[in-house]
Amino acid sequence: MTLLFYLAGAIAIIATFAVIVQTNIVHALLYLILSLLAVAVIFYVLGAPFAAVLEAIVYAGAILVLFLFVIMMLNLGQHTRDQEKGWLTGRVFLAPGVMSALLLGQLLNVLSQVDQDMAVTRVGVMEVSALLFGPYVLAVELASILLLAGLVSAYHLAKR
């Protein structure tokens, strides 16, 4: 299980890196799906099967299919790919890369003081649902209102 964690982590990092340097948008989307599925495997290893299943269904399934539909609707073609190649020189990565590396360095510095092992305990659907429909029921209702607002505004924005 520990080996699976590091393997899936390496796949997630490599696939995410491939997303941000890709010029072909459909290839980037496929790499993003790979990255999300690797993260789903990590969730499973960390003892959260419910989150793993939701990650695969909602993220890799629903959200990325939405992206795919929009890319099909836009029908970008070769022109955008050439434009993308012109924009994506090594120079543009310099400043954001340095700033993100600084941020990551600070994070690593903080995390290096943490030294604890987690014994993986499986927290199944039952415990999560008991919380969702117990103390957090108001949050669930608010989330449904948020989704409704998202639905209405997406319909309104995409309308001619």
Partner: protein
């Protein structure tokens, strides 16, 4: 029972977040920017799951569920905006939005 060092999980979440941040800062194609935002949201969800695994609680998974809902709503609105932008400007270059008026 095998154990995984908790900081490795957080480091993974941090690396994924920083990669998403680089994507948001470098790309000019607005669809890529939205995808990088998804990567960042996903990384924060991973951090919550790692914390939930550390203390063996279910609250982290509840929080992940909320992040998932937020990501779904955000993507729906963002893609609607992208469609509208493409109709108006015939491009996905985010720089054309810098000279909008009113």
């Amino acid at each position: 029972m095998e154990t995984i060092p908790v900081e490795h999980g957080f480091i993974l979440a941090g690396i994924l977040f920083c990669l998403g941040l680089i994507g948001v800062l470098t790309r000019r194609n607005v669809v890529f920017v939205l995808m990088s935002l998804e990567i960042m949201l996903n990384a924060s969800g991973l951090a919550f799951i790692v914390a939930a695994a550390r203390w063996g609680h279910a609250e982290g998974q509840v929080m992940f569920l909320m992040i998932l809902t937020l990501a779904a709503a955000e993507v729906a609105v963002g893609l609607g905006l992208i469609i509208q932008m493409f109709r108006r400007f015939q491009t996905v270059d985010i720089n054309v939005l810098s000279d909008m008026k009113g």
